[in-house]
Symmetry: C2
Subunit: 312 residues, 2 copies
């Protein structure tokens, strides 16, 4: 079994590829929930939904979030009524938020709700929130501490970041389906998807039992660099790295993860960094990591799986 750690778009795209090359019994996709938040009384899980919609093939590939064939009547009526309209919720997308909120209020666990919603959308692979306990990313910025979505959506990542906190992580447990996999000793590799190291992957690793499990691993960890040619394909990863004094390159990312990662998959554009990363004691695979379509997701996933097996 392979466990993939994923955030938003990049994670979702690799997850699609992994789901295409591995049967449901051999893949679990663990998703960041630290950007979840309550908005308009609804429980919103942006990364979970991006991965879920992408796996189900109902995602909006242009926006990178939300659903395809979406309509926006709710938002327009909400704005007319003076409601908070800075976080855009599509009409179809709302159905997931309403059902999730209802189930959570009734005491169901996020992991159970997610399994049910994913099943309804035809997803056969395990899609698991990192934890059923709320963990919330706080962004330490020059303008003070911001809730993640305030930083990310409302303020469009403009504030300069100084660091991150994952409120609630100290007492968070892995979601039960993940805990069962961790105990099973069936895991042959962990794949860190090309997701933001600070706000997608770090929150997952901030759950103490997950971090300890990876630290004490008897399986390889391979990671796909989220930085290609000195830039993130989407999102603020490169900006954050620069603001935190890191080099915004695949090498910088490799240094950031340090001993947590055994094998790096970097893009062909970054082939020149292969030696430098190898000098950090890592095995490196150079591949086309830009997943513009489901075919490329599948090709990359196939190479990542082979690479991980070779390291096992």
């Amino acid at each position: 079994m392979i466990v993939a750690l994923a955030g938003g778009v990049g994670g979702a795209r690799l997850a699609v590829g992994l789901a295409a090359v591995l049967p449901p019994s051999q893949l679990a996709i663990v998703v960041n929930t630290a950007d979840d938040f309550d908005h308009l009384g609804l429980a919103i899980s942006p990364d979970l939904d991006t991965v879920m919609y992408t796996l189900a093939g109902v995602n909006n590939p242009v926006a990178g979030w939300g659903r395809a064939k979406e309509t926006w009547s709710f938002m327009s009526a909400l704005a007319e009524l003076g409601g908070d309209a800075w976080f855009r919720l599509g009409d179809r997308d709302l159905a997931v938020h309403v059902l999730r909120t209802l189930a959570l209020r009734r005491g169901r666990a996020l992991s159970a709700v997610t399994r049910e919603l994913a099943g309804r959308l035809g997803i056969r692979h395990a899609l698991i929130p990192m934890s059923d306990t709320p963990v919330r990313t706080r962004v330490l910025t020059a303008r003070g501490v911001l809730a993640f979505q305030d930083y990310f959506v409302r303020d469009q990542c403009r504030p300069r970041v100084r660091g991150f906190r994952f409120a609630g992580s100290r007492n968070a447990q892995p979601a039960p389906p993940l805990a069962r996999i961790m105990r099973s000793r069936q895991v042959r590799a962990v794949v860190i998807c090309p997701s933001n190291p600070y706000v997608s992957v770090a929150p997952i690793l901030s759950v103490p039992a997950i971090r300890a499990w990876i630290r004490q691993r008897d399986f390889p960890v391979v990671a796909v660099s989220p930085i290609v040619g000195g830039a993130a394909l989407k999102g603020p990863a490169a900006k954050m790295m620069r603001e935190l004094g890191c080099e915004a390159t695949a090498l910088g990312v490799a240094r950031h993860y340090g001993s947590l990662v055994d094998g790096w998959v970097i893009d062909t554009k970054d082939a020149k960094l292969q030696r430098a990363i190898e000098r950090q004691g890592k095995t490196v695979l150079v591949a086309d990591t830009v997943m513009n379509d489901r075919g490329k997701s599948r090709q990359l996933a196939q190479r990542v799986v082979s690479f991980a097996r070779g390291l096992g």
Copy 2:
């Protein structure tokens, strides 16, 4: 000042007319809330919304509920996800439910939320839920006791009714803006709109202080018959009357209300019933009561207001 008591469509149409002929300082529209319910975790107020949307001119005139230019993406996604789809919530309509639910959860009163939403929709007249305390209609039927929306929407009014209960009414207080009007002694008439006597008007009158205020009145109560030519223009009023052993005519309705009403407005189609109602000790106005458009609402409202003034 005139206080109008209203339920759904018929009440909404007369309210529109009254709002056209009376300035905001001279009209308060009090709406049934006993068909409110929690659905999918949302606080739904069907009658309040029908009156609000109709006053604002954004209602769907064909359906008699919900908004014009509505879209249904939420419902289709909800059904796909296995959610309860028997109660239809349009995408625009949802904005009201989400904002109301959020405000109520934060401890705001329904009357305060309603004033705010109505204000945002450009309504200048007072639109007041009968009570901020939940009162809930239970329909006693041959199949047992049903929650109102289960009877009305899910079961399409098919079960034979044996009676009604208004759970919570005993301890319900008039909403504060209504209580202020009741105390003001400025009320010159109460108008009972052509709404269902059992499930729209009776719940309002089930609030003890409202009922006592009307019983001890020093102003006339005029009512517009919801039964025209032996049928309700919309909804199950006539069916309910027959099932409860009442004659489903304007005369039957007059008998039902008894001493609560001083003056009856009946439709020209029912002119032959005028004498019989007058023999009950009532004053009767025969008028065209079928409000197919806003012009006819206005005409009827003008006649109702003059009629009430004549009785004062």
